[in-house]
Point group: C2
């Protein structure tokens, strides 16, 4: 058995999320279909984690198992030839047998992209805000997310996940190249369902003066999703990078 890992970018707009589901068009499903064409049968294929419907990725990592080692360069070309334009395989490389896209992942970074003016060219993955928030205040508030907490207050209420403890290493709004464009960067070991979008929605309420900047600790302690802000729209969210103990795809993804 040979394990190969893939680095994948996708535009989630027209997908029902990452994970294969009967009767739905998903990113994993598209890639499995392409692998089946190439391999003649459907190989075991697993991503680092799910992304919701409409959420994108620039750095999703997955692994596939084959009876014999594959030619990485050729597999990348074949996959990109078979996949729709909304899914791009950026890198393919051999992985050690003990590498697991999901269970070996140590950190996952998401970026949430906003603009304070309408945008036509980036509209697939950037949401336009109705007003300009106070970024400095949002960044002060975001400091309270750092460290290890129970994130039930930012977890979708219908989630069946019982372990809601996550360790957040980085949470910050940063300006992008274009005036008026910002992104929220968050890096954590794991996430509960809907966590990033709930955090962004809550921070934006703080940035508009509708919620106190020092309210995050009480909100975390409450464990009550109804006390947090509304989920920000899915289309602004991008899974930016997944990190492992050893660097992966270093020449293609610095």
């Amino acid at each position: 058995m040979a394990r190969t890992r893939l680095l994948i970018e996708y535009d989630g707009t027209e997908f029902s999320g990452w994970q294969t589901q009967p009767g739905a068009r998903t990113v994993q499903g598209e890639i499995e279909r392409a692998l089946t064409v190439i391999m003649g049968s459907t190989p075991p294929f697993m991503g680092s984690g799910r992304t919701d419907a409409g959420v994108h990725a620039r750095g999703q990592v997955a692994h596939v198992d084959t009876p014999e080692p594959v030619d990485a360069f050729r597999l990348r070309g074949s996959l990109n030839g078979l996949l729709p334009e909304s899914v791009a395989v950026l890198g393919v490389e051999p992985a050690p047998e003990d590498f697991h896209a999901r269970y070996s992942a140590r950190q996952r970074t998401y970026h949430y992209h906003v603009a304070t003016a309408p945008r036509a060219l980036d509209r697939l993955w950037r949401t336009t805000l109705r007003s300009t928030p106070d970024v400095e205040t949002m960044n002060e508030a975001a400091q309270a997310l750092l460290g290890t907490h129970e994130f039930s207050s930012f977890c979708r209420t219908r989630s069946e996940t019982t372990n809601r403890v996550c360790t957040v290493h980085h949470a910050q709004w940063v300006p992008e190249a274009r005036e008026g464009d910002w992104r929220f960067e968050i890096q954590a070991n794991r996430y509960v369902h809907g966590m990033v979008r709930a955090i962004v929605g809550t921070l934006l309420e703080i940035g508009r003066g509708r919620r106190e900047a020092d309210s995050i600790p009480d909100l975390l302690a409450s464990g009550d999703r109804r006390l947090a802000g509304p989920a920000a729209p899915a289309h602004g969210l991008v899974l930016h990078r997944v990190e492992y103990d050893a660097p992966v795809f270093t020449p293609t993804f610095a």
Copy 2:
């Protein structure tokens, strides 16, 4: 009569270019239709220049004339409410009577975006190259474009424009934020039809070693479009900025 200028971003993918044409969907046509809804009749409306089918803009400038001065903030909101998502009005401001979007324009800057790896999220406005070109050699070659030249060698053969003299002030490939992404920046007082795409196609041949790096002066002197490279695909090209004697839209477009 009051003159008002507009700063416009658009995704040209689904348009037959900028300029209004009977029976075709164009950006100017969409904006004229929205202005007609707002004003009750179609006002005189003029852009800084045409862009071809499939070409985008981040900084197209246009002007509109109305009998009375308009509320710029409100007009921007009304237009963005009426226009499709692929057209965004970034700024609206009063213009002096002697300002003319086309005839007062002094410099126009285009960016042509490429990637050396497949891209899903930027695929609307970035073309993926089959191989990685030698950027340093392309930049050496591009120096020969600077200054005032007859650009018939880079002008679509069916063009009816007789004046093909343009002055190029800047022509350079620069790396973008993401590894593997590059853009070609060109700033000139004017362009002949298809000029930027023909230049990009020619420089890419040089970057792949299929054409001599010092061949641009002879190519310019020949005046023969057949001797230049193929036009690069329309969808990588973005009208980035139009400059006038005095700065325009300075708070919204730094």
